[in-house]
């Protein structure tokens, strides 16, 4: 579904590459978290998958297209098979909820009849059927993100890219959004989500790809590591993998918490948050 082969992306003026020989494979129906500090290359990776950028070297295959070779005029048609949401929602302030969703269908030439049925359906699905005629400014952050999600999935994309979709939301609202994204994933859409929120990463128990300074330093499924490209010395995460607790936990247990705390992994923050919640 998505195959990234030894990709390097160097932005002009930057002193180190945003992505440095990254390889990654994502299967149909996968749910993958991209985690890492700011500047680790998460967003660059998403831009490459969406063909907003072209890598300097290496290749990107998405939905059977070689994104280095795809001609410019075919890019719009490729993007119609992708959905994307952002931290800042990116809704049009002058359009109502329904108009925002309809806009994305109008501009790709869908018929009025299709729009008139698809828009209410998708708004109902994200739980905003009753706010169809409100303006984005009248909605809470969580509701705005649900509109953005509705817009991203209304055309039934094969892949949903989410760039920190919960970055502007409080934990409870984040949970709602994540439940919605999980439902979208359960319906068969491949989800790639960049996030800083390790609480979410931890609770969902999905595949986690950790990026640091343009390298993938760990690629971990809920059942453990899939592969580690370039282990960084001093990074503690690989040690967790050998911990038996990680092998099956469907949810955070106290033992799991302790294990991670003692291993002082990158999941530290998550744990502290969880303890606060208790």
């Amino acid at each position: 579904m998505i195959r990234i082969d030894n990709v390097t992306k160097h932005y002009r003026g930057a002193n180190r590459p945003a992505l440095n020989g990254v390889s990654l494979e994502i299967e149909k129906g996968d749910f993958v978290f991209l985690v890492g500090a700011s500047g680790s290359g998460k967003s660059s990776l998403m831009r490459l998958i969406l063909r907003e950028d072209i890598p300097n070297s290496g290749s990107v295959f998405v939905l059977g297209e070689n994104l280095r070779r795809i001609p410019g005029r075919r890019v719009p048609y490729f993007r119609r098979k992708m959905g994307m949401v952002f931290q800042d929602f990116r809704l049009l302030p002058s359009k109502t909820v329904a108009q925002n969703v309809a806009f994305s269908l109008e501009v790709i030439g869908k018929s009025r009849a299709f729009i008139q049925t698809a828009v209410p359906d998708v708004l109902e699905m994200v739980g905003l059927g009753h706010k169809a005629n409100n303006l984005p400014s009248e909605l809470s952050g969580g509701e705005q993100q649900r509109v953005a999600l509705a817009r991203a999935i209304v055309n039934k994309p094969a892949i949903l890219l989410a760039d920190e979709p919960t970055g502007n939301l409080d934990p409870a609202t984040s949970e709602e959004i994540m439940r919605l994204i999980e439902r979208i994933n359960a319906a068969g859409t491949t989800v790639v989500m960049a996030t800083h929120d390790r609480g979410i990463v931890d609770r969902l128990q999905k595949r986690v790809v950790v990026l640091s300074e343009g390298n993938i330093i760990s690629d971990m499924r809920d059942s453990g590591y899939v592969s580690v490209d370039k282990p960084t010395p001093g990074f503690a995460a690989p040690e967790i993998a050998t911990e038996p607790a990680l092998a099956q936990p469907p949810r955070l247990t106290e033992t799991f918490t302790e294990t991670i705390v003692t291993s002082r992994s990158f999941l530290d923050e998550v744990i502290y948050e969880n303890e606060d919640e208790k």
């Binding site: 907003e52 005029r73 890019v75 993007r79 806009f103 055309n155």
Partner: protein, 304 residues
């Protein structure tokens, strides 16, 4: 792609940019009015040429006693001279080219002169013998005046052979220069109009960059994204060019026909029918120019 959507987007762009749109309308109005005026002048020149060239004759001026001695050392042309000129005009060599000719003697020349300069001081000074006796020659093809000129120039007793068109050519070259000047100003203004259009479209795109971003994100085709902007420029310029056509019509109706034709009743002026030829040209030029300018301006926003 849905037409309603594109038109709606275009209307929004026009509303948001009202003052810039008005300036596009005005600049295209003024520049295309210049173009239209230049075209009118060209039509006028063509019309006057065909009118006057048809009537223009070649004059073979015979010597008088007052002619400059360089051309006429013998003074007044003798009867022999007249006969020989006339014979040559009748000769098989020249006859096929002539439509007709007639001879104007001193007396007739004097009458014509008195008519033309009636009421002016010069009419009182001139005496019949100062005016040339003249063979007026009308050619079948006015462009072949060289044949007459070459046959009679330098012949004893002939002061000068003059194609009347040479007088007209001076007038036409002045009119031509005026129409070139109008075209020059028009080109300059059209250039500034196209810059103005591309600036306006760029501003319009800037004010809608959120929409543009989302359109690109959800996979709108470049054509769908471009079209509202191109139409925005085209609509503004079309309004300008329609107004310019109206201005050209008004110039013909009120200035040329309403004033000039009354003031100079013996001259043939361009009619209102010419506006029907000029107006589509102006509107076409306006549409073409604005489509190119706005298309080029929006292209930069579409790098994928």
């Amino acid at each position: 792609m849905r037409l309603g959507f594109v038109l709606n987007e275009m209307a929004q762009g026009l509303r948001r940019n009202v003052s810039m749109v008005i300036s596009i309308v005005l600049v295209t109005l003024v520049s295309l009015t210049f173009v239209g005026t230049a075209l009118l002048l060209q039509f006028q020149i063509t019309q006057m040429k065909s009118y006057w060239y048809d009537r223009a004759q070649v004059a073979i001026y015979l010597c008088t006693d007052t002619s400059p001695s360089a051309a006429c050392p013998q003074g007044e042309a003798s009867a022999d001279v007249k006969t020989s000129v006339e014979q040559r005009l009748k000769s098989p060599l020249l006859k096929p080219y002539l439509k007709r000719y007639y001879f104007e003697d001193h007396k007739q020349a004097y009458q014509t002169f008195q008519q033309q300069f009636k009421g002016q001081a010069i009419a009182g000074y001139v005496t019949p013998d100062q005016l040339n006796e003249t063979f007026w020659v009308k050619l079948k093809d006015p462009n072949q005046s060289d044949i007459i000129t070459q046959s009679f120039n330098g012949v004893a007793g002939v002061e000068e052979v003059r194609d009347q068109r040479s007088y007209l050519d001076q007038i036409f070259s002045i009119l031509n220069a005026a129409s070139l000047a109008a075209i020059g100003v028009a080109v300059l203004m059209l250039f500034s109009a196209s810059l103005l259009i591309s600036t306006t479209i760029r501003l319009s795109a800037l004010s809608r960059r959120r929409e543009l971003g989302i359109m690109r994100l959800v996979g709108a085709s470049n054509f769908t994204i471009q079209l509202p902007f191109i139409l925005e420029g085209v609509v503004a310029a079309t309004i300008g060019s329609v107004l310019a056509s109206g201005a050209v019509w008004a110039i013909v109706q009120f200035f040329v026909q309403g004033y000039l034709a009354q003031a100079l009743p013996f001259t043939s002026f361009v009619g209102i029918g010419k506006v029907a030829i000029i107006a589509p040209m102006l509107i076409g030029a306006g549409i073409l120019l604005s489509a190119i300018a706005s298309g080029a301006a929006i292209r930069r926003y579409l790098k994928i």
